[in-house]
Amino acid sequence: MSCVHWKELLVEQLYEELERDKALALEHHLADCAECRHELEQLRQARSLLSEAKPEVPTLPRVVMLRQPTFHRPWMAFAAGFILCALLIGGGIATGVALGPKLGGSQSTTATVLEPLPQDAGNAQAPQVIDGTPVRNDFVSRDELNKALANYGARFDERLQTKGNEILTRVGQQPPEMLLTQDELNDALSIFDRQLENRRRGQIELLVDQLVQTEARLKAQEDALRILVLSGQPGVRPE
């Protein structure tokens, strides 16, 4: 048997992973081989030294997992969706208009589909059916689209304008000495800070609740779930 093979067995013997028959074979070999006996002793000493360096592991940090933040403002989502649709439709029209002449003028499918229907076509309650296929008559015309966008923008601008005017009026009416003093500014900022702190505390309470519930569900305090922090990790999708 080669030396390398005995070395493997010596290592297995050192960690008590040697099978019974191999252990017997090694025992017989060691009885005759001083070199291998010496090797085993050296390995035992090295293992003993190594075990002294076993690091004490620090307390396991708690890890917290949060879901990805969701869109908390439905009206913003709606507005974003509306604008996106408008842009897509507008883009479609623009493409149709741009490519129309090249593709044969008014024969372009995109441009034709998006053309407004005559006013009298809107009277039909049921969709028209041509060759068994219903024809939709509820497309928004380009004018209607522009009008809706302008109206939305105007309302938004109007609110901004109103707010701005309010502030300007208030500032304009105050003589310079009536504007905020440094102390008033500091007070206002401290109120703001307190509000932020309250909000943060609320979030922490929410997290603690979540942890407690998780621990209760798993029924294993010592192995309680340290939920992983995912919120700061872009691209993570728990779904």
Binding site: V4, K7, E8, L10, V11, E12, Y15, E17, Q42, L43, Q45, A46, R47, S48, L49, L50, S51, E52, A53, K54, P55, E56, V57, P58, T59, L60, P61, V63, M65, R67, T214, L218, A220, D223, A224, L225, R226, I227, L228, V229, L230, Q233, G235, V236, R237, P238, E239
Partner: protein
């Protein structure tokens, strides 16, 4: 083991069950943290690597091969991250000097008793440990990994071979040369099993 196996939980994670992922984290975070910490010896880095390992488990759950063992796969991910970290920062030898300054380890009950009986002996033990850790940093990384997994983590040779993706005989060979290398590195410093000469 009570409840679903790790592999069953991972299959559930693949189909979108976040609770199963939570259970896997709860089950493995402690062993994984021990494993990683003993590989790189820095609590902050160990924490980051554990987190990254779980994130990769989550993101790459679909790549887990049916029939494979979850823990082996998870340790492979963690080990690769440890290697990247050590390669990037080349910190292993620096660890010896730094490790006692940046954290207070959770003392084992026996350690507390030992420290209380004789401060001089405790100081000597600390010095020995630092010398041994330093010597550990001088042997080739592939041997050091095996030594850490076997001696500190108590893994079987078969498990280590699965994680490293090599034959068991290679693991034993690395163990053999690693232990001898450690002893030689210590001998160069005049250090023996009995103490510093």
């Amino acid at each position: 083991m009570h409840g679903p196996t790790d592999e069953e939980l991972l299959l559930a994670v693949r189909s979108g069950d976040n609770d199963s992922f939570g259970t896997l984290v709860a089950r493995w975070e402690r062993p994984l943290f021990h494993f990683v910490y003993r590989m790189i010896s820095r609590p902050e880095d160990a924490r980051d690597i554990c987190q990254e390992t779980f994130l990769r488990v989550l993101n790459k759950a679909h790549r887990f091969k049916p029939g494979a063992k979850f823990s082996t796969w998870m340790y492979q991910i963690a080990l690769n991250l440890c290697r990247d970290q050590l390669r990037k920062k080349r910190r292993w030898s620096a660890v010896v000097v730094e490790r006692n300054s940046d954290f207070e380890p959770e003392p084992a009950p026996s350690a507390v008793l030992q420290v209380e009986d004789n401060p001089a002996e405790a100081a000597e033990r600390t010095e020995r440990r630092q010398l041994i850790t330093q010597a550990l940093g001088e042997i080739p990384a592939e041997q050091r990994e095996v030594l850490v997994m076997k001696e500190f983590e108590g893994m079987k040779f078969r498990e280590i071979a699965e994680i490293l993706g090599c034959p068991e005989s290679t693991v034993k060979s690395r163990m053999y040369y690693g232990l001898n290398g450690l002893k030689a590195a210590l001998a160069k410093q005049g250090f023996t099993a009995e103490g510093v000469s």
